[in-house]
Symmetry: C2
Subunit: 467 residues, 2 copies
């Protein structure tokens, strides 16, 4: 039987980050990653396989860096975990003994119990290159695609499929034909607007408008009742709850993910089908030698301490790092809870978000003061690349002025500006703190220092809080 | 005699920010800005007048927003300040009474006592549109330009003049002719490398390489002894301290700025020719009704409390906001001291910096641990716009792990990533804090969450600090 020091089940964000962290901290330890795919796709890159990369092989996390660091990677399925014997059995019958175990089994697409869900050409978004390639091949031959779910994955898939079929962003809402697309893409969202779980409603609308400028049929406040059979076991249409039918040669389900706890019974650790493996704030399970990290591990909210459904590669990476650090140095690092720091680009607009939305704050009965700032992202505005109405919206607690959320929409800088806000939230800064800090600016790269969005929005909130 | 509530002398960053802040906090107060230029140029935008904007009028801060907010703007010179009578006399003989006064007179280019400094076609970089237009006209007729000073202003001016004359960034070092430029631009820097006061030496070298790819003759560790007369009072060459001569039809001096304290005697407040008007941490002068903010106000270092020569529009804006807030609500806000948060773009690389450089930390005998991270700024790296070797370098105090500096070089995201670091510095975060925070990432906008530069560099430092 092979032996390793640390066995990591799962070769995506949490697992790879854990492996890297271990090798940095404890180069003498043997670290083995077992993954159930031949290659690890870049999970967040999946939509871009279709429109930009046009090749699944280009969306792979290269193994080289990990192998060079001395990490062993096995592309096999784990069949059984024997915690008493500290041994894992793989699908080829081999087994590996371990000293410490990290569960990083990730998540699986949520598949709703909907009529027609198993028809041919109904896809989910699985982190499996072979499956993703099947989708790519299938997309070459279709005319009408329906994407169900207007969260990040649905919005990005819809945009990239339109792009793949030739859509060019127009400066007006258009049909697929007018956008140059050969595929009619429809995007169906149950909520009033897309991206609403992570973003401000107004920025969800911006994303929708970008999609509409690419000829995508965005249908919000709509729900699918069934996916319909063409008589040969293949999808032909979807039927909405209001009775209307949409032609569909291919359907993509992108309505979220659930933790992959397939091993729960075998490993004999408590797990919740919606939350994942139970862990403490050090990411330790009930077994002191077993940790769980990433999408498969239960999470709590940074803001409320309540269970959180936020599953993101960025959270997974942080958790991988925390779990790895604690293996041989117990309780050295703990999680602050899931914050939710996101970014996306839809058409010609990027959106960044960190922490609570206005709606989420209201749902949690957290009273907030909102500071807004609209300013060009260049100074002077005559410089190329200028988006005159780039906007920031920051949410501060009314009782103590501490920031609980921030949202930016405009240029590609939205992602790193979301990180300025993410750091502020995790540092529990107040509007006053953020208003009077110094920020780097440059004509070609940011707004004017008179109106750096984060500062100005914070000052606007500080002025309200001072009243 | 006219009367106002708040008179602000100076209509650039500090003055305009102070005016805006006052109108937001105290809409009932009359706020008057007096400036000695007809229009306020965007100060940091000045280099881009030449290469990109090709028109001084495009680099103007529009008055509209300020006028619409009810701020009065007068384009006049202040001749006299009578603090006892709370009155200011202007160059047209009129006078204005005030309740509170803010000095925001800015800075002036430092003009070295060098032979030939007053020759025709020797320019500094003044924040005066008419003067800047003269420079623009003069540049149309020259063949050889020498820029003295390899700090931000010198580097940016050299780059933009090359660009203005047709230079296109090559993928190798080249002559002006090979770059397509009609003007030979030389850049002279005394220190071993450009940008060394703000940036890591290695990133100064990146900037130099970008300039060399545009055909610019970069001469580091060089000093000018004299600017030489062609016999008609016009510059013909510069002579270096090592005796060599460089042909020059036009010379630009960009070796820093000194506070503009021309009014010091008249206003009767203590001021230092190098530091500026003396102020406390609330930016109040000795006169409780007079504040000073921005380049004309003395500064101390965020890190050491010692006098600081950092003069930046971003610092000026923060100070304008602080001074304005304190006018009618004494000591409500204080400055943390000048941090130094910068960004620039040179050729195809952007550089961001916040806080101390390795050299500055060593000069202050602050022992640091350096965490570095090199990673693509896209994930997967096959995505367009990928810079595979974007690099972050973070400096943490060895004694307590607190961050004191951060430097980024690569894509345009460097500016906002410098702000992630700037916020971390001002929040006194440790390497441990920064390594385990959650950051937003996206394939099209940032590195992978496995290698978000700020997080990864912090983790690398944390691992060193844990030893």
């Amino acid at each position: 039987m092979d032996k390793t020091d640390v066995l990591i089940i799962g070769g995506s964000a949490a697992g790879l980050m854990a492996a890297n962290t271990l090798k940095k901290r404890y180069p003498e330890k043997k670290v083995t990653v077992v993954r159930n795919v031949k290659k690890t796709p870049v999970p967040c890159g999946i939509p871009y396989i279709y429109g930009i990369l046009k090749d699944v092989a280009k969306d792979i996390i290269p193994d080289e860096g990990f192998l060079n660091a001395g990490i062993e990677i096995l592309s096999k399925h784990v069949e059984k975990v024997d915690r008493a014997g500290k041994t894992v059995t793989l699908n080829d019958g081999s087994s590996i003994g371990y000293e410490k175990l990290i569960l990083g089994t990730g998540s699986k697409p949520f598949v709703p119990p909907m009529p027609g869900i198993n028809l041919k050409n109904v896809f989910t978004v699985k982190k499996d290159p072979e499956y993703l390639d099947e989708l790519y091949v299938a997309l070459q031959k279709v005319k009408n695609v329906v994407v169900i779910g207007g969260g990040f994955i649905g919005v990005e898939m819809a945009e990239q499929i339109a792009k793949m079929s030739g859509a060019v962003c127009q400066d007006y809402f258009c049909t697929a034909e007018q956008s140059g697309a050969t595929i009619n893409v429809s995007l169906i969202e149950m909520l009033p607007h897309c991206l609403m779980l992570a973003c401000e409603e107004e920025f969800g609308i911006v994303a929708e408008n970008e999609l509409k400028k690419m000829g995508i049929n965005v249908m919000v406040e709509n729900q699918v009742k069934s996916i319909d059979d063409d008589g040969t076991g293949k999808v032909s249409s979807v039927t909405m709850t209001n009775g209307t039918k949409l032609s569909a040669d291919l359907v993509i389900i992108g309505i979220g993910a659930v933790p992959n706890i397939d091993l729960a019974e075998s490993v004999g650790l408590s797990a919740n089908p919606r939350g994942g493996f139970d862990v403490d704030e050090y990411l330790q399970t009930q077994d002191p030698d077993v940790y769980a990290a990433g999408d498969c591990a239960a999470k709590f909210s940074f803001f409320t301490g309540k269970p959180s459904g936020i599953r993101l590669a960025s959270v997974a990476c942080t958790e991988g790092m925390i779990a790895a650090s604690n293996l041989y140095n117990e309780k050295s690092r703990k999680t602050m809870g899931a914050l939710g720091a996101f970014a996306t680009k839809v058409g010609e607009r990027s959106i960044g978000a960190a922490g609570l939305t206005t709606k989420a704050a209201a749902d949690e009965k957290i009273e907030v003061v909102i500071g807004e700032a609209v300013a060009p992202n260049r100074h002077p505005g005559a410089l190329p690349g200028c988006i005159p109405t780039m906007k920031a919206k920051l949410l501060f607690r009314k009782d103590n002025g501490v920031i609980v959320g921030g949202h930016i929409c405009g240029s590609e800088a939205a992602a790193d500006m979301a990180n300025v806000i993410a750091v502020a939230i995790q540092s529990k800064l107040t509007a006053e703190d953020m208003a009077t800090m110094q920020y780097a600016t440059h004509p070609l790269l940011t707004s004017s220092p008179l109106s750096y969005h984060v500062m100005l929005a914070a000052e606007n909130a500080a002025a309200q809080l001072a009243k």
